[in-house]
Structure formats: C-alpha cells, structure tokens
C-alpha cells in the first residue's frame, strides 16, 4: 500500500498554486539560464576545438625585426639553442684577428722600411755621403727596389712569425675574457645554462602581416587598424561565416564581428591602406576569437581593430611596414597548459639564442596557451558559466531555505496531526520523507522545465550573447551530460539537504509535544520585556520577534539581491565614468611609436608638425601577487608597464622636478592598482630577459589612462643603455602627416584609452539592463514568498484581531510595517555592503587583468539600485494588503482546535 499521506502533495500544490507557481517559474528561469549557459558553453567549446584542428592552429608565434633565411628557419626548427658563446667568440676572434693583422702589417712595413733606410744610411756613411737630399733619394730608391723582397723575407722570418703568434694569442685571450664575462651576463639573463632544457623541434611558417589603416566608411579618416594576412596561408586559417576568401587583387575578407560592429556587410567597399577593396567574405580566424591587437591589451577591441586577408598579389602592394611574424607548431604536441609552459619556455630560450646569433631582434613572442586572442573567449565563457552557476546555486539555496521555512510553518500548523500520527506509529523518517516530498517535487519540476527551456530558448540567447562579442566559428548544439548534472543534481542536492536539516530538526520533538502544540525545543522562555512604547509599536515588535527566522532569510535575500543590484548599476556606471574621465587626463592626443629612430638612409626621422615632441618608451613587466591572479580572466602573472622618458621642459608631461637616476613618477592608475605611494620601491623586469630594474617612486603623476612610469629622457637613455639623444617616437596633439607609415610601429590615440570600456560596454551593457530587471523580479519573488509566510502564520491572530474590532488598515500597519522597515533599512545597509564588496572585487578583477579602472556608481545609479528593491517590495505590499483584507473573521474560530 502506498503511503496515503502522499495524496496530500498534489492537493497542496493545487490549493497553494500561486505560491508554487512563483517558485516553479523562478526555478525554471534560473535553472534554464544555467542550463542554457552550460549547453551554449559546451557547444561552443566543441565548435572551437574542431575549428582549431580545421584551421591548423599555431602553437605560438613570434615576430622578428628582419626576415629569416631558409637556413636560419631550419636551424630554429631543430629547437636547439645556438651556441651564443661560440658565436661571440668567432665574432670576437674575427675582429681581433683583423686588428692584429692590420697592426702587424703596418708594424712590419714600418720595420722593413726602417731596416732598408738604416742599411742605405750605413752605406752612405761608409762612402762619405753626407748630403741629406742625396741620402733620402738613395733611401727612396732602395725602398722602391728592395721593399717587396725584403717584406717577403721578413714575413718568413721566425721572429716575425713568433711575434704575430704572440699577438694573436694575446688578442684571442682578451676576446675570450671579454666573451666569458659577456656570456655570464647573457646566460644569466636568459637562463641559458638551464640543466632542464629540452629541445622542442617545431615547424615554422611565415605568417607575415601588415597593420593597415582601415577606413570602413570611406570618409577619408582612419577608423580602424586592420591586420592583413595572405589568403593562401596554411596555418591559423579562417572559417567563413559568410562569403568566401578573396580571389582578385581588389577583394578582401574581414572579421565578422568587427564588420557587424561597424556596419560593414558583404559587397561593401572599404578603403585599406589608401586602396579600395570589396568585402567578399566575413570570417573568423582561429587565432583571433577575440580581436586583441596586442597580447597585453586589457580588453579586445572589435571596433578599433580588425583582422582580414587579401590575395598574395594585393598583399605585396600594401604600403605599411611588413611585420616578420612566424608561426610555430611543435612536432610533438604538449599534453596540457602546464606542459605547454615547459615547451614554450624551452623554445623561447632557443629562439632568443638564435635571434642573438642572427643579430635579428625578437620583437614579440606569444605562445598559444598565453594568447589572449585565442584563450580569452573560451575562458570568459567558462568564467561566466561558473559564475552564473554559483549565483544560481546561491539563489536555489535561498529558495530551499524559504521552502524549509514554509514546511516548518506547516509542521507547526499541523502539530496535533503530527502528534497523532506519531502516536499512531508513524516513524519520524516517514514524516520527514512526507514533508520533504514537496520541495523535492517542485525542484524536479523546475529542473525538468528549466532544462527544456535551457536547451531550446536560453541556449540561443546565451550563444547570441557570445556571438555578439566574439569572432566564433559556427556551432552545433551538443548534448551535455555534465550540464544535466549541474542543473538537476546540484539544485536537488541543495534542496534535499537544506530541507532535510531543517525538517529533521523540527520533527525531533516527541509526539506528546506535538499533541500539546509545544514546539519550542527549550522550555518556554519568559517573554521578552519590551520598552514602554505605544501598544501598536510593541505589537509590531512582537510580530518581528515571533518571526525572526523569516526575517533573517528576508534580510539575507535583500542583501544578496542589493549587492547584485549594486553590480548591475555600478558596472555600466564604472565604464561611463572611466570613458568620461580618462581621456580628459590624456597628456597627448597621439603617441607615435617609431619602428626605429632612423630611416632607411640612416637619417634621423623628424617631423615638422607643430608641437611634436620626442619621447622614449619601453615596456617592462611588473610581477603580480600570484594570489590575486585569476586564471581565465585574460591576464597573466605579470603586467606590462610602459616606461616613458620625456624631454626636459616637456609640454606634454608636466614635470618640472629634477629626478635622479633610479627614481620615477608613476601614473595614478599604477599607484591605485598596486597600492604604491611616494618612496615605495618598484622592481620592474625585462619581458624576455632576467634583467630587472629597481626604482623608487618619486611621486604620483595624475594619469588614469594607463599603468605607466615616467622619468626624464636622459635618465631613460642612461638606464636602458642607450645613447644620449636616442628616442622612440613623438608625442603630438596634432596628427603627424610627414612621417612615412612604414616607420610608424604604433599610434596610441584617445580611442586606445577608452577601447577597454567601449568594448566592455558593448558586450555587457545590454546584459546589465536585463540583469537589473531580473533582479527586480527576484526581489519581488523573494519578498512575496517571505511575507506570505509571515502573514499565513498569523492568519488566526489577524482574524481574531478583526473580531476584536481592529481595522484592516491597523492590521496592515502591524503586520506589514515591520517588513517595510526591514526591507528599507537593509536595502540601505546592503547597498553599502555591496559597494564595498564590488570595489574590492573590482580591484581583484583588475589585478588579474592588465590596465586599470575603478568601481564607480553614480548617485543616480545608487538611488536606482535601492529604488528597484523598494519598488519590488511595494508591488508585494499591495498583494499583502489584499491578503490581510481577505482573511475572514471566522478563521480564528474555525481553526481553534
């Protein structure tokens, strides 16, 4: 026989349908969102994985100053280190030999001539010739006649040979000493004598590119930097979301995401590097899922940066400097990221030695596992998915507590029945199972419906959200068993254990206590004495005291939601605030960084642009504290710091103070991010070398646009071993027109400073709006459920009070005002908590990323975030008022037993 108590469950569901409907809809929605996120995530990860194989993705890339020869390519492919010491020795010997040879030759010439002269003079003296002119003539003549023979003779002499050998030996010894010293430095710098070094053979591919100016609306102004590759590349291939690869010289294919952002469609004409191209394809490069121009960029920029391809013929004709970028693929693939780090470390060492030996500067090195453009999107999706997952679990836990409270109230209400059932022989477990069944059934319904909408509706919403931000390949929905577990098992487990805990402890009392309605675990305490307030005030306080657990859950819920509201309003505000303030602080409109300070003819590159001023800059690395570094958020363990050297009396960097070597000013962003102040020590290191520099902070320079350090140019050149007067580029408020594009490596403009926030706003802004309204609804649901519990629990008291003559309005004031006060007070308190949490979280988040901006919420945002919560309460209070009004007077009499 089935337990007849189970028949109650469907009836209870039907009777209390509004309450359970709210819970089920809420759970369906929450579980649906997580399910959609997981399914979308798994489907996209599958698509990305298959596109990596199809696109023949790199294991890493590097850029050199010059093109490699075929032999050099073969040598690098072995993965072996070049013998830098040998190279330095050879180079040193060669130079030394040449010097010795030259010195010896001139010395010998001198000696031979002297010997001839001495012989002639001796002869003249013997013959009595004293006329100096005659002697000179005789000497000249003798040299003319005998020099060659004498020289040859002298060269053969043992004496000369010995002297020469000695000279060589001495010179070589000097070279060896010098090289040893130099080698010690270099090997230490690059850790070249690493005993664990293993050769990692690779296959290299040329993957040259041009960074061209793109003008997508043909208004004659540069809109975007477009990185162009050849359409016949065999590695890092693109998949086409629309259209095809270019086939003629005037055709081009560009990134789909960028095209969508700036409104370019197939068939449109765009100007690239001054030439017009027809867009024939919209693509997604396997190594550009996010449009990161540089690997160190805080955020990708699908507006200001673009990638694309042209035919090899068109590629040859592109005007800007060619970047000698090479792609490598390991012959034996690393198994995971940890192994990839080992592989990359070894390969980079080998590469550094090669670049030294080839005298070809390594300008950039990015292994695939650290490549933001490849890893940002998957890890962002991963991060979003787990963050949403955790959020949903917290909300389900809250719902579970609400359920537990509802069940506790039912247990109290049914106390006599439970006593009778226990007295009749029903076990505690049977009753626990019975009371557990409702929350479990509701959760199962929520999970099933949630997964249904997750797999259908929400998955598409989620996927669209990511397609709006990332250049992803096409995908197909995959069945995800892990998503099923996370969206069904975890909510059920949460619901099960929370309710089990509460219900079991509630049912622990003896049957007799249930029969007597004596459900206090401890002996009845004396009633709390209240201050001498008005009767109504004391009545209200009693209501609160009597419902403390309900109010605690309400407070927890209010805090949780308000913290999230603080984020939902503060995040867009922070972006706006940064976008508004950062450009105002820009010290120059444009920073032109040159490929070299001299042009092809060896002339220093100059400009006539008024106000243009030379500056120096280099990039050093600031190590981050590892405990703040969060994998998958885009940043690594270190951050690139731009170090500027400015001219004395610079018109751009307003610094009049004398600064000794070893001191720097740091930007306010730098100071805030790492908490540095005047007098603190900084230790910055070279990116690919072990060399590091120590600086003392001389002061803070008010500039929030970048994490940067400043020093006078002379100090800069001294510290970084440059010649006096060396520089890296020009600051200029006006556009510089008279420097050939091929000498310009990068231009940093106003857009570069705000592209972080532009992009974040684009990909998250819409989502935040939705999030705000979701939270509003959440606030309503939570407050509705809890106030319903409180009122239901007091139904017979309310009814009795009505019999006694209390008016509906008075009763509403008694039973609703405490909730209103609680909600309002804790909304305010939670806002402050939320603000503190968000400011802290933002700092941690920014520490894990490169760059800086702080959490900011505008007064309007702050008020709105609290208003949403209070408005949610107002909606519920209308329903509560109705509920109180509808409680009949006979309720008290009917339920008297």
């Amino acid at each position: 026989m089935h337990n007849p108590l189970m028949k109650r469950v469907p009836r209870e569901l039907l009777k209390e349908w509004p309450k359970y409907l709210v819970v089920i809809v809420f759970m369906t929605f929450m579980i649906g969102v997580v399910s959609g996120m997981y399914v979308g995530h798994d489907s996209m990860v599958a698509a990305i994985d298959s596109s990596k194989a199809a696109g023949n993705q790199e294991d890493g890339n590097f850029e050199l100053e010059k093109k490699l020869t075929d032999t050099q390519i073969k040598e690098i492919e072995t993965g072996d280190m070049a013998d830098v010491r040998d190279f330095l020795l050879d180079k040193g010997y060669e130079e030394a030999d040449k010097k010795v040879e030259e010195a010896a030759a001139s010395e010998l010439k001198k000696t031979v001539k002297q010997n001839i002269e001495d012989a002639v003079r001796a002869q003249c003296q013997a013959l009595g010739v004293t006329d100096e002119t005659a002697i000179q003539d005789a000497v000249e003549k003798a040299i003319g006649e005998n020099y060659d023979a004498a020289l040859t003779e002298a060269k053969k002499s043992d004496e000369y040979k010995k002297a020469l050998d000695d000279a060589y030996e001495k010179a070589h010894k000097e070279v060896e000493d010098k090289v040893d010293e130099e080698w010690d430095d270099i090997s230490e710098e690059y850790d070249l004598e690493d005993a664990d070094f293993v050769s990692r053979p690779v296959t290299l591919h040329e993957h040259f590119f041009h960074n061209e100016e793109e003008d997508y609306n043909s208004d004659g102004r540069k809109d975007t930097t477009l990185r162009l590759y050849r359409s016949d590349s065999e590695v890092d291939k693109a998949s086409f979301n629309e259209g095809r690869a270019p086939e003629s010289e005037d055709e081009i294919a560009i990134d789909r995401m960028h095209a969508a952002n700036v409104g370019v469609s197939l068939g449109d004409e765009i100007t690239v590097g001054g030439r017009k191209f027809k867009v024939v394809g919209l693509l997604a490069y396997v190594n550009y899922m996010t449009l990161h121009e540089k690997n160190t960029d805080l955020m990708f920029d699908a507006f200001g940066f673009d990638v694309g391809m042209v035919t090899p013929e068109a590629f040859e004709k592109l005007p800007s400097a060619l970047h000698y970028s090479y792609v490598f693929q390991y012959d034996k693939k690393p198994a995971d990221d940890i192994e990839a780090a080992d592989f990359s470390g070894d390969f980079m060492k080998a590469l550094i030695t090669r670049s030294a030996v080839y005298e070809n500067d390594l300008k950039d090195y990015v292994p695939e596992y650290l490549n933001q453009a490849v890893n940002f999107a998957p890890s962002d999706i991963e991060g979003d998915t787990s963050a949403t997952g955790i959020l949903v679990y917290i909300l389900i836990a809250v719902i579970a507590f609400i359920f537990a409270i509802m069940v506790s109230n039912t247990v109290e209400k049914e106390s006599a029945v439970i006593g009778t059932l226990r007295a009749s022989g029903y076990t505690r477990s049977e009753l626990t199972r019975h009371y557990m069944s409702m929350p479990i059934i509701v959760t199962i319904i929520g999970a099933v419906l949630g997964n249904l909408v997750g797999y259908t509706l929400f998955k598409d919403i989620v996927v669209d959200l990511y397609y709006n931000s990332y250049s992803l390949p096409k995908y197909e929905t995959v069945w995800s068993p892990s998503a099923m577990v996370k969206t069904t098992v975890i909510p059920l487990v949460l619901m099960f254990f929370i309710n089990l805990f509460v219900i079991r402890s509630k049912l622990r009392l003896s049957p007799l206590k249930f029969l007597r309605h004596d459900l206090k675990k401890t002996r009845r305490q004396r009633a709390v004495r209240l201050p001498k307030w008005s009767f109504l005030a004391r009545f209200r306080l009693r209501v609160v005291l009597q419902n403390i657990p309900d109010y605690l859950v309400l407070i927890f819920g209010v805090i949780l939601i308000e913290v999230m509201l603080c984020f939902a309003f503060g995040f867009p505000d922070s972006l706006d605030h940064y976008a508004e303030t950062a450009p105002k602080m820009l010290f120059t409109e444009n920073q032109y960084i040159l490929t070299d300070m001299k042009d092809d003819d060896g002339e220093i590159i100059t400009t006539e642009t008024p106000g243009a001023e030379r500056f120096s800059s280099t990039t050093l690395v600031q190590q981050k504290q590892t405990d703040f570094s969060m994998r998958g958020t885009g940043g690594g363990l270190s951050e690139d710091i731009t170090v500027y050297g400015y001219e004395t009396n610079s018109r751009y960097i307003d610094m009049r103070e004398e600064m000794p070597d070893g001191q720097v000013y740091i930007s306010s962003a730098y100071a805030k991010k790492y908490g540095f102040g005047k007098g603190d020590r900084l230790s910055l290191s070279e990116k690919y070398e072990k060399k590091s520099y120590d600086f003392t902070v001389a002061g803070i320079y008010g500039y929030d646009g970048a994490v940067a350090a400043f020093m006078p140019q002379d100090n800069f050149n001294r510290i970084f071993d440059k010649d006096k007067g060396d520089f890296s580029g020009y600051f200029s408020d006006e556009k510089i027109e008279d420097i050939d594009n091929k000498y310009v490596a990068t231009v940093i403009t106003r857009q570069d400073i705000t592209k972080v926030t532009d992009q974040l706003d684009h990909s998250m802004g819409g989502f935040m709006k939705v999030f705000q309204y979701v939270l509003f609804i959440l606030a309503i649901v939570l407050i509705y459920l809890l106030t319903k519990i409180i009122i239901e629990k007091n139904e017979s008291s309310i009814s009795m009070a009505k019999i006694l003559g209390f008016k509906n309005r008075e009763l509403s004031a008694i039973y609703m005002l405490p909730t209103a006060v609680t909600v309002i007070i804790f909304t305010g308190v939670s806002f402050l908590i939320g603000y503190a949490i968000m400011a802290g979280l933002f700092k941690i988040f920014m520490l894990s990323m490169d760059g800086w901006f702080r959490f900011y919420i505008s007064p309007r945002g702050a008020i709105l975030s609290m208003l949403f919560m209070v408005a949610g309460y107002l909606v519920v209070s209308l329903a509560d008022f109705r509920r109180i009004r509808k409680i009949p007077m006979d309720e008290a009499l009917k339920n008297i037993e």
Partner: protein, 238 residues
Amino acid sequence: MAGESTSFLEIRNLKKSFGKGETRQEVLRGMDFSVAKGEFCVLLGPSGSGKSTLLNIIGGIDTPDEGYISINGDKLEEMDEKAITLYRRKHLGYVFQMYNLIPNLNVKENIEVGAYLSDNPLDVDEILDILGLADHRYKYPNQLSGGQQQRVSIGRAVVKNPDILMCDEPTGALDYKTSKEILALIENCNRKYGNTVVMVTHNEAIRRMADHVIRLRDGMVRQNERNIEKIPAAELEW
C-alpha cells in the same frame, strides 16, 4: 480488587512528576493495576488526577520516572525509541478528544492513514459502513460535523486492528447524543474485533458500560473494580 490472573496490560508502581524544586508536581504516585485482554477498561477521575498522563505512558509517548508497564509480557522501559514506535505502530490505536484529522485528505483516505501502518488491517469499506460514514467517504474533514470527525478518527484507530485502543476523552468535545453514538461505536468495535479498550474520561456515567473501572485521584488508584452490571452504551444516561 479485580482478579489479575488474565492480565494483558500490567502497570506496576508507576510514578511520574513534572517540574523541579518548588514547582515539582507529582502526577502519578505509584500506580498498580492490570487489564485483561479484550477488556473495556475506563480510567475515571477528575481533571488533574493523572489519567491522561497515565494513558500517554501506556501509549509509549511519555515515560514514567519509576515503575514499568508491560504489554503481553513486553516491558516498555526495555525498548528504545524505534522499538516503541514499532510497538505503537503494531499494537496501539489512538483516539483523542480533538480529532486531529488531516485536512486535505478525505474521510476514506484519513482512515487509510491508519490502515497503512498495519500488517493486517481491517477492510476500510467495512469500517466506513460500521461507522456510518459510507455516504461521506469522499468528504473532507471540514465538511463534517464534530461527531462525524470523531467517527473518522475512531475509524483511523480501529482499522489497524490494534491490540489496545487508547481513547483520551473521546466524547469530551461532543454533545450528549453524539457522545452516546461514539461510545456505542467503540463498544461495538471492542466486541466485534476483540481489542482491549483503555478509555480516559471524567464522565462518571461512562463507567457503567465498562468491564473494568479504575478510579484515579491525586495520582493514585483509589478504586479498581470489575463492573458486574455492565449496560450497553445506548442505555447510558447523564
């Protein structure tokens, strides 16, 4: 004193007190009596005489401070909580002054709640007929009068076919006529199914329908006698 030779339920030196120190109140002060199998036994006494406490201890939902109870030779004090629950489940039926029915189960289902607990339950439909509830079987408790609800609660207790039917003031909340009907039903069940009935009441008249009457006062047994001139419940007057 009644003969104890056929004792089914034995109560020996039972003591129980509540509270501590000055507020300590001795409710049972050493009770001794036995009830034979199949007997209709009435525990009679004014309020505060300890009759309900006694009934709760017999029912295993309260424990004595001293003394013991044995049912069919099994001592309750030697049982752990699980065993006592099992004992209640298999051997006891309870009827309270308040009916304590489950509001969202209908009449038949409320009786099934009792039947579910038993290994050899009686036929639910038969019980409905005997209790005169056949026509009301699909009604919910709030559609029934007090007397009807008490019938359902008797049905829920009897359907288990318990060895002992414990009744705590079963007519306490009912009017004269309905009370008599309820008493007749209990009597009928006792006769028909042979359950031992232990009924607590303060109503003097009810003793006349019992086989065995135990009077309690101040936590002591004042009188323990067999009723020789037992009359049917229908003939009771008060």
